[in-house]
Symmetry: C2
Subunit: 95 residues, 2 copies
């Protein structure tokens, strides 16, 4: 089964648009690799947490900030498709 991403976001903070944009970016970049992306409104305020198959790969509270999109793609790529070249969104050492 292909990996599944979940984005839990705080609806009261109005982060749906950010979460929706993130979902679509991931589904575009990892069109072949991802099984699904789930958008989940959080019950807890201030949450923006991204998981891959249940493993947290980004938590806003822990990191103190939102991820850059290229940063998040690199983290997810390293986990689900290490051979996938992200082009100009990749780290300098991989380019």
């Amino acid at each position: 089964m292909k990996p599944q991403v979940q984005i839990e976001y705080c609806p009261g903070c109005r982060w749906l648009l950010r979460a929706g944009w993130t979902a679509q970016e991931l589904l575009t970049t990892f069109e072949q690799e991802l099984g699904a992306v789930t958008l989940r409104p959080s019950e807890t305020g201030g949450r923006f947490t991204v998981t891959v198959d249940g493993v947290v790969v980004w938590d806003r509270k822990t990191e103190g900030r939102f991820p850059e999109m290229k940063e998040l793609k690199q983290i997810i790529r390293d986990r689900i498709a290490p051979e996938h070249d992200l082009g100009h969104s990749d780290t300098p050492e991989r380019q």
Copy 2:
């Protein structure tokens, strides 16, 4: 547990944007009622299928067309939150 919606779409048909828009519309309208919306690229071409807790509420192949957004909201409202007034997106007999 709150109801969960899944939107399965054909990525080869370039329906991600439509699916992503639909997900965000549903999460905005049913902010209190929905537990999550999942975007799932289909393995089968031409698919645009919406399920609520695993029950198909719209299938493009069966219906022969995409749902209107207000139509889809009414269907989902009737299933998960029959008391929820959709305002100007509602059917005439409910207004």
